[in-house]
């Protein structure tokens, strides 16, 4: 029996995930200490308990069942995404909540799982090859469909998570470097052109250099190159046509320092919170930035500030290490499982975690624009925590079933 558990259960992963969840609960407690903390704290504790149960349940579902359920679940979640657009509750400007007798649910969270499953199931078919245009199109569409609904909510942060996950899965599933470049170069050009001419030129030059190195069909290469230039130039053009206040909003998004009281406020306060924590922190419940509510949304999107301020560099570093271990474990699992479906599910989950983490910590530390996404396992929020737990459950499932085809 002991051996069976050893063989099938990744205890270190469970331990790390539980630890991160507990740190999250403590941080939520601290972040909402003055505003009737108990409500947030108890709710999050409840979600965590429910999440843990779900995680164990998901671990025990046979791979075959998951494969068979993937399309129906995907369809159901697309349905929910449609419903939420019609009857959803607007929170913070986004119509992303469904109310169920006092319980709020974000379909866009759960859809992360179902989209990964559907994507993995589709890509696991032997005939699906990522050099065929049709297969590429369907693969991309599986992700773009929920993204479309999510953009309509609108919830850009979540949409970016899906797109990031798609890129990782494509690459993992064997998309050629050329295909990756086709997706990445125009996006890079668009972003770079907002930063100015020089970054744009650098991106264009890099694209050209990589195209030469890849030795692909010249015609396609030319198309990719033209697309890159065209996207960059038109972004620049559209930006110039925008009203000044919208230009300013975009610039503030890219560089929060230009508007310290508006959009830049969060980041400045967040940096102050993290920086003032120092090496050892100010002590639990003693962070002035946290306790005096200087950081908006500090129990959700800016949760990372809380332990960083109260436990200092040591706390912030510990969380970073734990999260990175989860990512590494995910890559490891996805590379040892025998089933292609399992592998892609695992990498999809890793990608989802990674993009969340990259954007969230990058935002809190002021090296990324402010995009509202939660920090996996730590941020307050039921749908997100449950989704994360389900994803961890899937990782554990893939590990347990790693020898199955």
């Amino acid at each position: 029996m002991d051996n069976w558990f050893k063989e099938h259960v990744d205890f270190p992963l469970i331990g790390i995930v539980v630890l991160l969840t507990l740190i999250g609960i403590a941080s939520v407690y601290s972040a909402t200490y003055d505003a009737g903390a108990s409500i947030f704290f108890e709710k999050q504790l409840l979600w965590a308990g429910a999440g843990l149960l779900l995680m164990i349940m998901v671990t025990m579902v046979p791979l075959r069942t998951l494969q068979l359920l993937s399309y129906p679940l995907y369809s159901v979640s697309i349905m929910f995404l449609t419903i939420v657009l019609i009857t959803g509750k607007t929170v913070a400007g986004s119509k992303s909540w469904l109310g169920f007798q006092g319980l709020g649910l974000q379909p866009s969270e759960i859809a992360k799982v179902t989209t990964i499953l559907a994507l993995a199931y589709y890509l696991s078919h032997r005939h699906v090859q990522l050099y065929r245009a049709k297969n590429i199109f369907i693969t991309v569409s599986i992700v773009l469909l929920p993204v479309l609904f999510i953009i309509l909510q609108p919830d850009m942060g979540t949409a970016i998570i899906y797109l990031g996950m798609l890129l990782v899965v494509l690459y993992w599933a064997g998309a050629s470097n050329f295909l990756m470049l086709t997706f990445l170069a125009p996006v890079a050009a668009a972003v770079a052109s907002l930063f100015g001419i020089t970054p744009f030129v650098i991106v264009v030059a890099l694209t050209l250099a990589i195209l030469f190195l890849l030795h692909e069909n010249r015609f396609f290469s030319a198309i990719v190159f033209s697309l890159t230039v065209l996207v960059g130039v038109s972004v620049q053009f559209i930006f110039g046509k925008l009203p000044l206040h919208q230009q300013k909003r975009i610039l503030t998004f890219l560089n929060p320092d230009v508007d310290p009281l508006g959009a830049g406020y969060n980041v400045i306060q967040s940096k102050i919170a993290i920086g003032s924590g120092g090496v050892f922190g100010k002590g639990f419940l003693k962070g002035t930035q946290t306790q005096l509510n200087f950081i908006p949304a500090q129990w959700t999107d800016f949760i990372y500030c809380v332990p960083s301020e109260e436990f200092g560099f040591l706390g912030a570093f510990a969380i970073l290490v734990l999260l990175t271990i989860v990512l590494f474990k995910g890559i490891y699992i996805s590379s040892i499982v025998k089933s292609r479906f399992a592998s892609i599910v695992a990498i999809g989950i890793v990608a989802t975690f990674a993009v969340h983490m990259m954007i969230n910590i990058g935002m809190a530390t002021g090296i990324m624009p402010v995009i509202g996404v939660p920090l996996p396992l730590l941020s307050y929020g039921g749908s997100n925590l449950l989704t994360n737990m389900i994803m961890v459950g899937l990782l554990l499932n893939m590990y347990a079933n790693r020898k199955e085809y």
């Binding site: 919170a273 120092g278 590379s335 592998s343």
Partner: protein
């Protein structure tokens, strides 16, 4: 086949990518939390800690006997916290407080610019009705509170409005020139001692540190108040002033215009300094209502004007001793030198009259009886330049440096001055005749005249007149003696003796012009003066000192448009001397109404 499809290179790519991501964040955390910890730590403190100022208690003022003259009393001040105030209530608030909406807005904006959280004072010293109105309407005026502040209170009868001076709110200009010391709404001394000793009196502001949240609302005292700095009470002033003399002297000039300055001839301490009409300082106790200001400013009797230090009138015959001293000291005349006064003096085509026919008159008699002819001739003998020089020696034409800000230097004419004003050669010796008897362009202030009386009393020790003797620190209890300058006049004792004999006789001998200055049991010496005034009745002067043998008080009395010095000013001086030396009045009636007979007491000297 399937289990091997993951290319190793892509696995390595992801491991590398996530490792890089980890390192980027690690680097960033180290940068924020280790490298820039101090900077962000400071910012977080600035974020959450606010300093509120606590006003110190203004120092008190005591007289020479330790009697409290200037005290503080609580009053209610309405304040408004910009962060909490509901601006839609401005109109209503302005009604309740009788303030302009613009005024409240102005205060509000200045407060926001300084610190949204710090209460701004909008009206001081409100009455009880207004207070209860604010209290009853608390919910209607969020952010509007009242606080107890101290305002000046004067417990004795001594008003000394010009001497004590008043306080007012600092002006914008003062705030901008002394930004570290004052902020809008602070009180600052504006005149008299309050202004001159502002630095000592004001004390040191305290600070209370509080923790605020992101909305700027008070959360708790910072560090349980351990870092608070309590306000330091201002220093107390110990004056040379005799409070009861001051009050008494004020009562003597009630309903008159004039000034009294009394000095201690032993050190120049100001025993009394009165300027009438005066004003009620309690009306200035905190914020002066505009109506009060306007009334005072437009009053034709100029109550705000400090006659004791700013007046510039000719001194009349009181100035004769300057010429006498000059002539004697420089050997122009011998003590026996005399004239035969025929009641008039012809100079060129002009005739200068005397009030009486004094007959043969020597120097002592000339002072005693105030003979003009004597001085007409003496002036021509002595010369303009010498007269000016000795006038300067006695302190005329320059400020006395009394420790009150406002002071007029007066005017001591000189050849150079006449040349400048009239042109060289365009003025004649005839101009000097007027100066000889203290008329004409000559201008002096009562405080200068009191100093003059002081040097006559103490035979030439010119002490800088000063109101404050000591400053007592309320922190250390330390007494700081305020140093003052003493200058020795270059005049020999035999000159002093002669002149003082004349002053003694002026009060005490038959034919003297100042018998009304007499005080029972004390030998008073002095000199009367009557200053011509083109605008009305003559101004009455008297300078004197007592006791003659060992002077303890030197005094100058000026009563505007009151006529003869010997009639209008001398009795007042006598009463003051009596009050000061006996510390009470020993005679029955304060001022006996005296029928004026010019040929008996008249001292009209021009």
């Amino acid at each position: 086949m399937e289990e091997h499809y993951q290319p190793t290179s892509r696995k390595i790519f992801f491991y590398t990518f996530f490792s890089a991501l980890f390192l980027v964040f690690l680097f960033r955390l180290a940068q924020l939390q280790i490298l820039y910890q101090d900077e962000y730590g400071k910012k977080s403190e600035e974020n959450s800690i606010r300093a509120l100022t606590r006003d110190p208690i203004r120092g008190l003022v005591f007289d020479r006997h330790g009697i409290l003259l200037v005290d503080n009393r609580p009053s209610y001040t309405v304040t408004m916290t910009p962060a909490e105030f509901d601006t839609s209530r401005i109109a209503h608030l302005s009604e309740v407080l009788h303030l302009d909406v613009e005024f409240i807005n102005d205060r509000l904006n200045k407060g926001v610019a300084y610190n949204r959280l710090a209460p701004v004072k909008i009206k001081r010293d409100i009455d009880f009705r207004t207070l209860s109105m604010i209290e009853e309407n608390r919910d209607k005026f969020p952010g509007v509170h009242y606080q107890v502040e101290l305002k000046r209170y004067y417990p004795t009868k001594a008003r000394a409005s010009h001497l004590f001076g008043y306080t007012k709110e600092v002006s914008d200009v003062q705030v901008s020139t002394m930004p570290d010391e004052y902020r809008p709404g602070d009180i600052i001394g504006a005149s008299g001692l309050e202004a001159r000793y502002e630095r000592a009196l004001r004390g040191v502001k305290g600070f209370e540190f509080i923790t605020v949240n992101a909305r700027g609302q008070l959360v708790s005292p910072y560090n349980d108040g351990r870092n608070d700095i309590s306000a330091k009470e201002g220093d107390d002033l110990s004056l040379a002033l005799d409070g009861s003399l001051q009050a008494f002297a004020e009562s003597l000039l009630a309903n008159r215009r004039g000034a009294i300055v009394a000095l201690d001839p032993n050190d120049g301490g100001v025993l009394a300094l009165v300027s009438k009409p005066d004003f009620d300082l309690t009306a200035f106790g905190s914020i002066t209502p505009t109506e009060v200001w306007n009334a005072l400013n437009y009053d034709s009797t100029k109550p705000l004007f400090n006659r004791a230090t700013l007046t510039r009138y000719p001194p009349g015959s009181t100035f004769k001793m300057v010429l006498a001293a000059a002539a004697l000291q420089d050997g122009v005349i011998s003590p026996q030198w005399g004239v035969n006064c025929t009641g008039a003096f012809q100079f060129g085509s002009r005739v200068f009259k005397d009030l009486h026919v004094h007959g043969p008159t020597n120097l002592i008699e000339s002072i005693q009886r105030s003979c003009n002819v004597f001085y007409y001739q003496l002036m021509l003998k002595t010369g303009f330049d010498r007269w000016t020089r000795y006038g300067r020696e006695f302190g005329f034409g320059s400020p006395t440096n009394i420790d009150i800000f406002e002071e007029n230097s007066g005017l001591l004419p000189s050849e150079e001055y006449f040349n400048r004003v009239y042109g060289e050669g365009k003025w004649t010796q005839g101009y000097l005749i007027s100066l000889a008897i203290g008329q004409g362009e000559l201008g002096v202030s009562p405080v200068q005249m009191a100093c003059y009386a002081m040097v006559l009393a103490n035979k030439g020790h010119f002490h800088t007149p000063h109101v404050v003797q000591r400053i007592r620190s309320n922190q250390t209890g330390e007494l700081q003696q305020i140093p003052f300058d003493t200058r020795q006049l270059n005049i020999s004792n035999f000159v002093w003796d002669l002149i003082r004999e004349g002053l003694y006789r002026c009060v005490n001998a038959p034919g003297g012009t100042a018998p009304l200055a007499k005080v029972e049991g004390v030998n008073v010496a002095g000199k009367t003066g009557t200053a011509q005034n083109p605008h009305g009745k003559d101004h009455a002067w008297f300078i004197g000192f007592a006791p003659f043998e060992q002077p303890k008080i030197a005094i100058c009395v000026l009563v505007e448009n009151a006529g003869f010095g010997g009639v209008a000013a001398a009795p007042i001086a006598g009463l003051c001397i009596e009050q000061y030396l006996y510390r009470e009045l020993i005679r029955n009636k304060p001022i006996a109404p005296i029928a004026v007979k010019a040929n008996e007491h008249g001292a009209r000297t021009n």
